[in-house]
Structures are given as structure tokens and as C-alpha cells.
Amino acid sequence: MTIQLRKIESGTEDNAATSVALANTCVRYGFCSSVCPTYVLLGDERDSPRGRIALIKEMFERGGAPDPSTVVHLDRCLACYACMRTCAAGVNYRLLLDQARHHIETHFRRPLFIAAYRWLLRNVMSRPRMFALGVAVARRVPESIGQMIPGAKRLLLLARQAIPEAESPTVDVPAAPEAPRRGRVVLLDGCVQRVLAPRINAAAARVLQRCGYEVVRLPMIECCGALALHMGHMEAARKSAARCIKALQPHLDQGLDAVVIAASGCGSVIRKYDELFRGTEFAPLAARISAITRDPSEILMTIPDLCAVRDTGFEVAVHEPCSLRHGLQLPELPQNLLQRLGFFPHDVPESHMCCGSAGTYSMLEPEISDKLGRRRADQIRSVNAQVTASANIGCLHHLGRFLAQQPVHVVELVDWATGGPMPPELNGLIPSRNKRDRSEEQSNLPEAVW
């Protein structure tokens, strides 16, 4: 089967009637407001999910260019989808927001500087080579210059946190010949992740190979479409996604067990490719890809004999990315996996709350993003763990700004535990607990009463 990119222009996302119908499924229970990060922070009903749904409905009913204040409140949405998890009415807020943002981008004229900044983010970050070049240049720009250009400060921060390829661990771990063959997977590198922290993908590849998977790398796949989609550029998102599908197609035809991506933000979008391409000729392929898209932790949890080869008794604070918890609906997956390998994972209070990273949000809404980042970092510190772990590149970098120690990706911990190189975040740390501690913890319970 050969797919044609030109066909994707026939999307029907700007269908106002569909959006209004979606909005009408909101029956205003209000459970969503109390878990919405922006409502919790700002206390403005228009910054709550149901407030935004009302604004979206009004925007579509009225048609034409949206009111600027509507754009402000919709821009402020993190798209964390905590609201969807708590919604008793089952409102598909994700789809509604995608459609609303697409309407805004096609009907609203943003100030020139803002529009240019958004264009830059969307087009540079989604192209790894251009992004890497930008990062390399940005690392050499004096901080004083960054302070002078609005928005640039955030980009420079991001660039400085990047770990260049040459500095990343390069210890190769060949596929264990004794491992039972479990299947064949494609590991996607992600556009931002491969530039900012390529070692995460290296770790994912190693651990999958070690577990008996044939790992196929497709560096020609750049962005999955998530960046464009979250910024309201549905067509651009479809084009990126279509390129991804096109590259995956031959491997699907050869037989593929999973499409793995170690950035849950990307995974949550690829998992919804079926929705993105509904009604187009891409739909069948998109649905096949959606059905086999996996976070690495999902796959690793299915390996019956996965076990640690080192003393892993580190206390690990786990920040669950919204894209993993709400998007992929895999709550507590990292905790369960780490616990299985002997780590001591700690739930972080307010696990439903976004850290403020949210794709390009931290660069577009820095004030709210920083408040959420600080709040989340405070909660992480409150559990007194030795290490912080997460499963999405955006969260790792954003939280790193507010924590004394850079967080580490879950898959890097798993890789190390099962024989891979030690993530630098663990350097100098000694596992504070071991299995004996764990049994003592149980016995510390007032056992006599039981």
C-alpha cells in the first residue's frame, strides 16, 4: 500500500457542529475544576475546563474570528487532561481543544512577534537537525543577550540543559544472546528528545535488546506531529504524522510488535493517530499504529524475568507525566516497574497536577509554567527521595530547573538496574535502602494488633 500525502488535506476538523455537539456533552458537574492546574492557580472559571468548554462552544456558535480573551484562556490550557480522567460525563475535551485551537490558528491573527515566535518553536523544535544547530548556537549566546529578547531566555535555558551527544554515555550493550526472542519493535527517537537527551533513547534501545527485542531505529522520522497539534496546526500535525506513518509502513508490513517511544508526550499523540486520521485513507494504517504504540515501561512490565543485577535500593520520587497518567492512561506504571526492580518509588502528592512543561507551554506561558514547576518541585522535595524520575523529556527538563538535581528518565534507571551504564544522576549516591529495610518497614507496623 502506498500512501499519498496530498490526501490529508481533506480533514473535517473545522466542523463547528461537531465541536458544539462535543461541548454539549459537558453537563457542568464541575469535578474537573478542582483538578485543573490553571483553575487551582488562578481561580478564574474561564481557566477551568468547563469554563473553556463554554468559551469554545460560544466561539464555534458565533463563527469567524474568536474573541481575543477566548484565545488567552485557551492558550493557558496545559492540555494535561487531568480533567478528562475525573469527568463523570465523559467529555472528549482533548478532541474539543484540538479543534478549538485549530479554529484559532485558522481564524485569529496573533500579533506579529507572537506569531513569529510560535512559528519558530513549531518549525525548529520539530526538526532535529535544525533544533540541534539552534541549541549549539544558543549555548554560545551570552545570557545578557537572552535577557533582552522576550521568549529567548526560555529557549536559552532549554539549550543549556541539553546534553550533547558526545557527552552522553556510549557504553554499548549487545543483545543478550541468551534472552528469549520476544519480538521486533521500532524505537522512535522523538524530535526534541534526540537532541536534548539522546542517552534516553540509547538506554531504551539497550534495555529492549537485553530483554530479547530486535530494535529498529528510524532516524528519518522526525516529529510525530505533537508539537504542531498542541499549537493548533492540525494540517501540519497531520503532515508530520503522515511522514511517520509512511516510514513505519514497511516495518508494519514485515511484522512489528510495537512502536516504542520513550517520551510519553509523543506516545500519547501517536496512540491517537486513529482519531487524527479518521475519515481519511490513512485511517487503517493509523489505527494499526495506534494499537501497537507503547511506552517502554508498558513493554518492560510484561517481561516475566526482568530483574535487577545491581543493588537498586534508591529512594525514587516519581513524577508521572500527564501524558502517561492521563493521556496514555497508565497511572502508577513507572512506580510499579521500579518497585519490581528493587527501587523504592515514592508517589509524589498531587500526582494529577501538571509540572507546567506541557510541550511548548513552558515557552509560551512561562509565568504559569514556572509556578506549576515550583509547586511540583516542592511536592517532589517533600518526599525526601534520593532521585527524581519521570518518563517524558519535557517534564525532565522543566523540573530540572527547580530541583537541585536533574531528574532521570525511568528507562535509564531500568537500563542501569539490568546491566546498563549508570545515569550520571546516580553518581556518588549510595542506595539508602535494601531488601532488609523493606521487610523492616513492614515490621514497623504495629504488628501486635494484627
Binding site: 456533552t25 453537563v27 457542568r28 458537574y29 464541575g30 469535578f31 475544576s33 478542582s34 483538578v35 481561580g43 478564574d44 472559571e45 474561564r46 477551568s48 468547563r50 469554563g51 480522567r85 475525573t86 463523570a88 460525563a89 465523559g90 515514592h346 508517589d347 509524589v348 502528592p349 498531587e350 500526582s351 494529577h352 517533600s382 518526599v383 518497614e441 513492614q442 514497623n444 507496623l445 504495629p446 504488628e447 494488633v449 494484627w450
Partner: protein, 509 residues
């Protein structure tokens, strides 16, 4: 009825004394705070206030007295199906305690309690205990995880674990009275800077005043202690399902024995088919204005989900699964005397989606899953009918038949979960309807009122009520009770400032 100018002056006064952040009068906010799920209209308040401390609440109440403006306190505003955040009347000003008074003031591991403000949710307390790696656990409800522990207890909400009596677990209230005074109940009123028993004992000196502030409008509770259970190393839930509607009679009598002997430490839940299944999928036969789900439709759903008409669940707490095995076996043989039904093995329970929600409750894990039942019908209408019934099988069976027939007569399905104690239990009946359809709203209202009459005729009433029906229930009480409630109101809140009309006490306007 307070005038617009007096409300404006009150709001301006509060704003000047507590800051602008403590006041919100934006039309969007007022409209949202007026929303509710009852058959009646929305009731937008005149303003919303956000105090940050007991002293702030005192300031607000004093100012409200000075300007003669009634206030309506809420905690987290998650009281869906009971009135949500909406006040009793539009001239009332909502005091939202949840936004800024959400501190966990103390967790006492040794004596097993926490001291919290009204804005502390089930989820926040659960998170805090996890963070501390505490040996304590909370009792949760089937309601929203973001609901208030204190608010739920003051409404006499119920849980399912060993501390399921939420009001019974509340101790040592701090209350701002209608005149602005601050009262501490129990030993909190000892003239001492460190009353050691404040949060420990309800049996101190003098009248026990705590009960006055549950299901009333006599004061604004600004902090309280909640007694917490010990988190056991093992929680083992037993779940059995029974095929026929008529099995309820015997099940209630059997559950009574288990509770009177305290053999089962948790509440025993007896849950009907559609209460469990409604959270899985919408009514497959629903059409606007149509009849309730057919008997054939109900049986088909039972078969699809592997459930009978009634499912019984309870939990044991102990050192290990092995240690609890004898209790599990004993309870299994006990219910085997029914001669029908089946116990569902723990491994199978894990695969049955409708039963996951039951497990969460007994383990003290907050979950929003039970609320998915609200998708059963479109339109967002919900009122809870919550009668208290004696633990006598014949009585419960009769009321079950009357309630089922009444619901179906009005075109609604019969959904119920009974939460059984030793002597009485509460039947939790959600009436789910399309609030955007005037006819369905009218039918839901009529259904609720008919049920109220049917139960009252047989000597029973509700244990909790949606705000819209509180005066209805109060009027079913004898005049002496009503007069006494109003006299207490007059004594503690002489100007009728706090939530007039709530629980049918004092005049709404």
C-alpha cells in the same frame, strides 16, 4: 432578602479587610457557583468569598451581621447531587472554605488522627499519608476524590472501611458561630493553652455540642480532627453475587448477623446490578421520554458482566492474606446457606471492571470511578435519595419493591447500594436524569417526592438530603422538633446569617 446595596457594602467591607483576593463577584464565577444537578433552577450567589483562616471567617461573619447579608459556607463544593456549590437563595454570599483553608495541621501517628481544615480533600489526605509512609489510612467514599473530608463528615456521609462512620470519626470541632464567636467543642473549650484531649475524646465534660454542627446551619466549622484507622498489612475483600431480586430479604438478615457480631469490620455493601453496571456503559435502551430499561435488557446486562441482581461485598483487615483466610472461608460458608449465588475469587474480581470500584473503597483509596455511573443517562441531572432503613430483611425487601416500582413508574432505573451496619443501613439511590429536559426534571422531582412520602408513611426518612428537598424533609418532622431547631438557630445565630433555610432551619429569605 438582603438588598443589592447592602450586599455591595458587605463585599466592599470584606474586600477592604481581607484583600481583593478574598472576593470574587465576576459574572462567570457567580454563574458557575450557582450550578447544581437538582431538578430546580441554578441559584447563582451574590458573591463568593475566600477566607484563609478562622479569623477571616470571623471577620466575614461579623461583617455579614453588620450588613445583614446571609452567607452560605461550602468546603470543596463537590457535593454533586446534594446541591453542589449553590446557596439556598440568590441573595446569599458563598464562603468558599476550600480554596485557601486547605491545610493539614497535624497528623498524629501515635493516636491515629489528623487535624485538618475544610479544604483538605480525600485525595490530599491520602497523598499526605502516602508521603509520610504513614501507618494510618483514611475512609473514602464513592464520591469525588477532591471532596472535603470535613464537609463529608458534617453531612454525615459514609465510607466503607473500618472507619466508615465519618461523622463518628470527627472530633474536636472549631466553629465560627453566627454572631462571629469562635467555639471549640469538647475539651477544646478547656481554659488551657494545650487541651490534650481536644481531638481524642467526645466524652469530656458538659453537653456534647459537636452534633449541633452536622446537617445544620448553626455555625461554620473551620477545623476538626478526623480519626484515622491503622493501615493493615493486608486487606482482603470478599465479593459474592446472587441471582434474584428476591434474594435481598435473606441477604440483609445474613449481613445483620455479621455486623452485630462484628465479624466483618467493614460496612457490608449490598449493591444492585445496575448500580455496578451503570458505570460501565450508558443505558442501552435509553431514548428521551422513553420507559426505564426493560427486564430483558437488565438481564442481558447481568449476563454480560457476570453479575446477579445483588452483589455483596465486605473486607477483612489483618496481618496477611493467610491470616485472613479463615475469615474469608467462614464468611463464604455463611453465605452458602443461601443455597444459591457464587463467591467470586479474588483473581476473577481483578478482571471484572465493575468490581474494581468496590475494592478501592475498602482499601481507602480515593477513586472517581464510581461516579462514571452518571453517564448512564445524558443531561447531567442527579439527586441522591438516601433513606435509612432497619436491618430487617422483610422491611428492606418491601421498600426495595416500592422504590423500584416508583422509579420505574417515572421512567427511571432502580439503582441502589446498601451500606450495612449492625442495626440500620443507608440505601444510596442515585436518580439520574436529563436536567436539560423539563419533562425528565419534573419526573425526577416527582419521583423523589413520592419516595419521601412512601418511606415516611412507613416510619422512615433520609439520612442526608439534597439542598432542594431539605425543607420538605424538615416539614415531615413534628412541630416540636422544628421549633427546637429554630430556637437553637436563634440562640447561636440571632440574625439568621449562616445559610438560612439549609436543612429547613430558619427562613431562606
Amino acid at each position: 432578602m438582603s438588598s443589592k446595596s447592602s450586599i455591595d457594602k458587605f463585599v466592599a467591607d470584606v474586600s477592604s479587610r481581607l484583600g481583593q483576593d478574598a472576593v470574587n463577584v465576576s459574572p462567570d464565577t457567580l454563574a458557575r457557583y450557582g450550578e447544581n444537578t437538582s431538578p430546580g433552577a441554578d441559584v447563582p450567589p451574590a458573591a463568593v468569598l475566600f477566607p484563609a483562616s478562622s479569623a477571616d471567617v470571623q471577620t466575614i461573619v461579623q461583617s455579614a451581621n453588620a450588613h445583614n447579608v446571609p452567607v452560605y459556607p461550602i468546603s470543596m463544593g463537590q457535593n454533586i447531587g446534594h446541591g453542589s456549590r449553590a446557596p439556598m437563595a440568590p441573595d446569599q454570599v458563598v464562603i468558599d472554605l476550600g480554596r485557601r483553608m486547605n491545610r493539614i495541621l497535624e497528623v498524629n501517628e501515635e493516636l491515629g488522627y489528623c487535624v485538618i481544615e475544610p479544604g483538605v480533600s480525600f485525595q490530599a489526605m491520602y497523598d499526605e499519608l502516602r508521603r509520610r509512609n504513614s501507618h494510618l489510612m483514611i475512609s473514602t467514599t464513592g464520591g469525588p476524590p477532591q471532596g472535603s473530608l470535613v464537609g463529608n463528615a458534617l453531612e454525615r456521609g459514609g465510607g466503607s472501611g473500618p472507619y466508615a462512620d465519618h461523622f463518628g470519626s470527627l472530633c474536636g470541632l472549631e466553629v465560627v458561630l453566627g454572631n462571629g464567636d469562635l467555639l471549640r467543642c469538647g475539651d477544646g473549650n478547656l481554659d488551657s493553652t494545650s487541651p490534650l484531649n481536644w481531638h481524642l475524646s467526645k466524652n469530656g465534660y458538659g453537653p456534647g455540642l459537636d452534633g449541633l454542627f452536622a446537617q445544620s446551619n448553626y455555625g461554620i466549622v473551620t477545623r476538626a480532627s478526623v480519626w484515622l484507622g491503622l493501615r493493615p498489612p493486608a486487606t482482603e475483600t470478599f465479593i459474592a453475587t446472587f441471582p434474584d431480586d428476591g434474594d435481598l430479604h435473606r441477604l440483609i438478615d445474613l449481613a445483620r448477623g455479621l455486623k452485630l457480631s462484628n465479624f466483618v469490620p467493614s460496612r457490608i455493601r449490598i449493591i444492585n446490578d445496575l448500580y455496578l453496571i451503570s458505570a460501565e456503559e450508558p443505558d442501552p435502551e435509553f431514548r428521551p421520554g422513553g420507559p426505564a430499561l426493560s427486564e430483558a435488557g437488565r438481564k442481558a446486562l447481568q449476563k454480560k458482566y457476570g453479575l446477579g441482581s445483588w452483589t455483596v461485598a465486605g473486607a477483612f483487615y489483618g496481618a496477611s492474606r493467610q491470616a485472613l483466610q479463615p475469615q474469608l472461608e467462614r464468611v463464604q460458608s455463611y453465605f452458602a446457606t443461601m443455597g444459591k449465588g457464587r463467591f467470586i475469587p479474588a483473581d476473577e474480581v481483578k478482571q471484572m471492571s465493575p468490581l474494581q470500584r468496590v475494592l478501592h473503597g475498602f482499601a481507602g483509596v480515593p477513586s472517581e470511578d464510581e461516579l462514571r455511573m452518571l453517564r448512564w443517562r445524558p443531561g447531567g441531572g442527579l439527586v441522591w435519595f438516601l433513606p435509612s432503613l432497619p436491618m430487617i430483611g422483610s422491611v428492606v425487601d418491601e421498600m426495595h419493591r416500592i422504590t423500584r416500582a416508583t422509579c420505574e413508574r417515572y421512567g427511571f432505573e432502580y439503582l441502589v447500594t446498601y451500606s450495612c451496619g449492625p442495626r440500620s443501613h443507608r440505601g444510596t439511590h442515585p436518580i439520574i436524569f436529563n436536567r436539560q429536559d423539563p419533562d425528565e426534571s419534573r419526573r425526577a422531582d416527582a419521583c423523589y417526592r413520592d419516595l419521601t412520602v412512601e418511606f415516611a408513611k412507613r416510619g422512615m426518612s433520609v439520612g442526608r438530603s439534597p439542598a432542594q428537598y431539605q425543607s420538605l424533609h424538615q416539614k415531615q418532622r413534628v412541630p416540636t422538633f422544628q421549633a427546637t431547631c429554630n430556637a437553637i438557630k436563634k440562640a447561636l445565630d440571632p440574625n439568621g446569617i449562616i445559610a438560612p433555610g439549609r436543612y429547613g432551619i430558619g427562613s431562606e429569605s
